[in-house]
Symmetry: C2
Subunit: 225 residues, 2 copies
């Protein structure tokens, strides 16, 4: 077990939510780290308050510069709440490893996590919605925007696109080997180390209605590297 | 892009938070599905409300029957808030695949997600805390409880253990191939199918202070299968 893992977030204390701009000397590298985590994570978890209670839902997203895009059905209550301009928290987490220490108390996880606070705004103009959908598509399935049949007017009307500025955001991470107590390092006999965790893609499975001879297109196949 | 993916959660509407007990005929299978998702997910995202705003943080967890255990440093503000008996939302998500459709609008993700609402209670008695830590350990790193140096009194005092009943919980999932519009199935030429996503473990990396000849113990090595 660990006392310093994912749950301890000084940058996210209740009295001072972290902003990158407050730590000016670290801002540039933090910004790059933030972008890297957001770009590598396939999904995020969207948190909002509904009737006074927290709700956390997994969802797709995409990043363009310092804007995060989210989307969903116009009928989804969580998106409707976010449309209304309530505060949201978007968290994207990459689990990199299980950290085995000689003591249970120093077991931990290696991870990188981006936490974004803000008020999402609904994108309502056609060009802006299409741009947001393109950013979301390029994140989830790069190449699909050029390859697949485009969004028609009815489909565009049925989707809600939200934009969230990356103004108030932080990155937390743990990397490297376990940290054990000096007495355990010296006298312990238990194994200690890191078991890496990775997210990988498997062999593409064509839909039944795709002709058997149709090759898997490059934009899908290249993700298998 | 899709209008029915992760963000649309009818079971999580603002007017009727889902409970498994309300859907009696599906309760048993839903309960099994809930346990399966929670047991397979390595981490969860903990949501709570701090100063009126949502906060979502990644954290470890463990399940024993219908109780979920969380833990963290006694100094972590998020845990302190949860200790006070505020509502929390714990969400664990397994991403199973990227769903490529012939139309952008029907792109989606295959996933399984467990969402638990409730009020976490702090576990304060020694036996209960140790039990919670064991459940957390068995989830994060099965075998470590028996292998590693145990938790001493000081370490036990420094950790907060929270318990959350799986009373109000739901599972959402999408499985299977893409669903395209009839006209795209008939006349479309774009590739459609599923790109599987999996979480895998890599080769264990021993800590520098572990003797080179020390073998990776079975409880770690067997996770590589």
């Amino acid at each position: 077990m660990t006392t310093e893992p994912m749950t301890t977030a000084p940058a996210l204390s209740s009295t001072a939510r972290s902003t990158l701009t407050r730590k000016r000397d670290r801002a540039a590298s933090d910004r790059r780290a933030l972008h890297d985590v957001l770009d590598e994570a396939l999904i995020c978890h969207l948190g909002l308050v509904l009737n006074g209670s927290p709700v956390v839902l997994p969802t797709g997203f995409g990043r363009d510069g310092d804007t995060l895009y989210l989307h969903g059905s116009t009928g989804a209550s969580s998106l409707r709440a976010a449309e209304d301009g309530v505060d949201v928290c978007v968290t994207a987490t990459l689990l990199d490893g299980i950290v085995y220490a000689r003591s249970l108390n120093n077991h931990s996880m290696n991870y990188r996590s981006a936490v974004v606070h803000g008020r999402a705004r609904q994108v309502t103009d056609k060009a802006g919605k299409l741009h947001g959908l393109r950013v979301l598509t390029d994140h989830l399935s790069p190449g699909s925007w050029e390859h697949a049949r485009g969004v028609n007017a009815k489909e565009l009307a049925s989707v809600t696109v939200l934009a969230l500025d990356l103004a108030e955001a932080s990155v937390k991470m743990r990397t490297g080997e376990p940290v054990d107590e000096p007495e355990d390092v010296e006298h312990g006999t238990a194994w200690a180390g890191v078991l890496p965790v990775r997210t990988v893609f498997g062999a593409p499975e064509p839909a039944a209605y795709v002709p058997g001879e149709a090759p898997v297109p490059d934009h899908v196949a290249r993700r298998l590297s």
